[in-house]
């Protein structure tokens, strides 16, 4: 279990919030993506960004499991989700050593188009309104604005 401090989302900005966790196994990803998208749908029915949020979650959790946990099911990924007037925020913390997001190669370059990996962060940035990393790249923060909020 991750011994690092838990994260507290601003209750005023995100009144609907929940913590999720998953083992560092690829099999654990899809059920948690489904749980989180259901939570967001309950908080904000028909928010209109179901596809974007679900795919961005898939990419975020896949990176956390594959790179942060190295597929080790004994490790844990923590996820905080908050919904409010500002839309939705998702924070994913993995137990890995971190990485430098600035070092990611452009997947749209000629070389990048022919690579069989390296598209996940680009996709999250396309799907969400804000994507950035904290804690040396071990903590992903991403936000999506919904019309009318959650």
């Amino acid at each position: 279990m991750d011994a690092t401090p838990k994260l507290a989302l601003d209750r005023a900005q995100y009144p609907n919030q929940r913590e999720f966790q998953l083992a560092g196994s690829t099999d654990a990803i899809a059920p948690v993506v489904d749980q989180i998208t259901a939570f967001i749908a309950d908080a904000s029915p028909a928010h209109g960004a179901e596809f974007e949020v679900a795919l961005a979650l898939q990419e975020a959790l896949a990176n956390a499991v594959v790179h942060g946990c190295k597929g080790d099911a004994s490790k844990t990924v923590l996820v905080w989700v908050g919904c409010g007037t500002a839309g939705v925020i998702v924070i994913v913390r993995d137990p890995g050593p971190g990485f430098n997001p600035a070092g990611i190669a452009d997947p749209l370059s000629d070389d990048g188009l022919e690579r069989d990996h390296g598209r996940g962060v680009h996709m999250m940035r396309q799907l969400m309104d804000d994507v950035h990393y904290e804690r040396n790249g071990t903590e992903l923060h991403m936000r999506k604005k919904f019309a009318g909020g959650c």
Binding site: D27, V66, L108, D116, H117, M123
Partner: protein, 119 residues
């Protein structure tokens, strides 16, 4: 994800059903396509009409498959991607890499005259 495979002339047509993403779906797709390539098959049609979503791992698998198939003188053609899968492929700039067809027959025929008699 379910994968059904049929042979049309020299072309293998794979019909996928379900979310195509990291985990069992990608593992299953890798296993089946590696088996086809191992048997010398390199002309592949992938029907995506019943795939509601595709993640970057699945896209990576398709790119790797295309590279291997081309190296063996063949290729990979896509059929009827759903709207969201089309949007995803566009997002990562791959609509210029993969040929996309409306149905299996046209995709199979596109591999050339050698296959058209049986396609």
């Amino acid at each position: 994800m379910d994968i059904s495979t049929r042979r049309v002339g020299q072309v293998d047509v794979l019909r996928l059903k379900g979310a195509f993403r990291l985990g069992d779906a990608v593992d299953q797709f890798r296993s089946q396509t590696e088996s086809l390539l191992h048997d010398g098959d390199s002309q592949l049609v992938i029907n995506l009409s019943e795939v509601p979503m595709m993640d970057s791992s699945a896209i990576g698998m398709l790119v790797r498959l295309m590279t291997s198939a081309k190296a063996n003188g063949g290729g990979v053609k896509l059929v009827s991607p759903t709207k969201l899968v089309m949007q995803t492929l566009k997002m990562v700039g791959l609509l210029n890499i993969f040929e996309v067809f409306d149905d299996d027959t046209r995709a199979v025929s596109s591999f050339g005259e050698a296959n058209s008699a049986t396609g």
